[in-house]
Symmetry: none
Subunit: 239 residues, 4 copies
DNA sequence: AATGAATGAGTATTCATTCAT
DNA sequence: GATGAATGAATACTCATTCAT
């Protein structure tokens, strides 16, 4: 609560969040080592980062509060101090993940692009975001398994996704006006479709690798998939 | 081991497997009540049915062997008698699910339809199968969370999906020859795309319901989604 | 109950009992394979052989009735048919082991040897019997851990050891008469001492190997130990 | 972690360890009652004491973690908190037992006695230590039944026994020089022999009692045995 | 703010034994 | 005589959470 420089770094850390498919999030935990003791925001952020990784990799039930405490190098009691319970920690993780996804989407600036190009860009962006980091996919898989039991309790996530859907709606309207985008397209449906085409390959990459007896995570398979997806979406929306 | 009538009923039960999105499978457990005692195949099938439901609804870690035993109305020890361990029981469940999916696909008779019609039919079939039963989706979510750790051990699942992919390849060839299907389509990619477009909506129906603040499982939403998906796929493949 | 040839082989099998320090007893189980079915004595003997091995290698608590049944290639129910319970099976194993030990000792013919030579012979015999087979040592370790709870119930083992002690008493008397054996030796004490000097090395060969960081079961270590033991006993009894 | 008085008492408790042949160790568990709660070293020591008793009396497989927890009046979870697993707890018990045995031997001061007297003293000490407490014998029996599987993992026990063997070596040298001890004695062999002569009577006291139909633990039998053993060892080593 | 000891309900798995054929 | 299915009590170990400092 005293050193502003430290606060700054914490802020960045909190923003970045976990990345990398399933490995280490590469977050700045180690950097904190020297300072510590009575670093409220830092401790909270460190817990949240580690918890994100653990919940994503092991699911809600599989994640262990003990492990989270150990890996965040904090006392287990602190989890309860900052988040009250495992479930509320998990909810904070979910909300942060949605928040990260939304803020990333908003940097896309789709309105400045031609309609087809804008949708291409959005598709590629979605696909590439899953290449970089499957944390969000994993969290959603866990949350849907428990029928959004926890997410339902969130007051913050509701409607968070609308900005990008609004953007897609504007693209459709523009494209329709200029005759490049076909009739009968609903923004929400299109959003679900684009996300879904990208999503399934990554959410199921391990079982697909088994049934196709190949490493679907290899750069070649990913590149092939990416090209197919983009082409398919463009065909699907063209007038 | 002597009464063929009993065997027949068991066979049917074993074939049917669990259905219904997330609730009770309504399988013939109750019917067995009268027979029971020393009904080896029946006991095994009952365990497998209940286990399918439990693993699908609660995930691998969340499923309890105690609950499975109770709900199958067998002694817990029997699980180990027939399946050796929770993991091998789960593997048996996975294999049976793949087997059911494959044998359902094979009844489609896609080769007798016009190419576009055949792909429409396959898309509708895939979509509708998820409407009826999300067991398989849930099992796949669980299995991908653990990086197909268990499925990898299966000697049976490998390449099980090829028949339908071969059928899609034949459709593409036919459509290409007659000029109704576009160039550059790979059967496997198309299979992943069609499954994926259908899949995502159902695998994430609970979180989508929260963020859209609507019951996406309602008949209206499902019908709307179905129409969009079919139209999108047709557009995506047309010449 | 019909083929006398088969019976003969069974008798031999029952006599031989298990051998080899900790490995397979090398008994004739495989030979039985062809005949079988309704071979009462053979089944009983096979159970007893396998049980001896299992109890010796794993202790009373560690031995599994399932394993015994599997390895004897009989139905588990047969154990109860022939022996009533795990405990009574174990008692039968113990009694058979004592019986084997006793009948082996009786072949020594110590009365025909010079006193010192006779005790040397008995010491070597005892030592060598442990080299060949530690089954008896292991059974005794298990039984003493449970304070002879089971052996106490035996009506047969009581005083079984006296023949050899009588023999030792006669040796002492003879040696005393001719002046080769010292005064003050009690046959029973001497018996315990000779057995004990041989026994400890073998009963504790694994922990001794750890604390001496050497394989005490190697031929060299055994030979060195044997020489020391024999020399020590001779010195200990000489006039 | 602040009160040195508590620490001191814990230290003493940890030193004493369990005693008494097979009954209760009578350790200071009751004394702790008043202090308790958040007494880390005390809890650990109490677990170790009770575990020593249980493993000695029931063997590794026979000992129950539940019982150990109950009798140490701690929560079962604490066993895992302090020792990680039943096996590592058992290893800690073994190491502590070896440590106690070694430190007891070192108080013998054999170098100040005449050679024969020193060996007499060592023999009596060994014999008497078994009269007082058969814990170590029981632990060794258990550990040898599992072929020192656990002890092998110890980094501490290796060569722990050398001090006393060195002392015996010095005795032999001295006795040889002054002509009281015979030729050809190896210190390690002699150590095994002396321990062994004492050990067998106690390790097998229950089965010996059955076959001799007498209570070999009675003072008379023990005294008779002690005299025989000492005499035998002296005869065995004399020049 | 931070720590580490302590807890009770639970979790997969095992085991000797009995039942029905 | 022989079989394999079925059982209930238990066994080592785990987990989210709270207490005392």
């Amino acid at each position: 609560m005293t050193d502003p420089a430290r606060h700054a770094s914490v802020g960045i850390e909190a923003n970045r969040g976990p990345s990398a498919a399933g490995g280490d999030t590469g977050v700045t935990e180690a950097v904190q080592k020297t300072v510590r003791k009575r670093d409220s925001a830092g401790t909270r952020a460190r817990i949240l980062n580690v918890a994100t990784r653990e919940f994503a990799n092991r699911g809600y039930e599989g994640a262990r509060t003990d492990d989270i405490a150990d890996r965040a190098r904090i006392n287990k009691r602190m989890i309860y101090h900052y988040f009250s319970s495992k479930e509320l920690l998990y909810l904070a993780v979910l909300e942060a993940a949605y928040e990260r996804a939304r803020s990333a989407e908003q940097k896309l600036d789709l309105d400045t692009l031609e309609p087809i190009e804008a949708l291409t860009r959005f598709t590629e962006f979605t696909f590439d975001s899953f290449v970089r980091d499957r944390t969000f996919i994993n969290l959603l898989a866990t949350e849907n398994r428990q029928r959004a039991k926890v997410l339902k309790k969130s007051a913050r996530v509701n409607m968070m996704n609308s900005p990008v859907i609004d953007a897609i709606a504007r693209i459709i309207t523009r494209g329709h006006a200029e005759g490049t985008i076909r009739d009968g397209l609903d923004a929400r449906q299109l959003w679900v479709t684009i996300i879904g085409i990208c999503y399934f390959f990554f959410s199921n990459v391990y079982t697909l690798s088994v049934i196709f007896d190949a490493d679907m995570e290899s750069p070649e398979h990913i590149a092939e998939r990416r090209a197919h997806v983009v082409e398919f979406v463009v065909r699907g929306v063209k007038a």
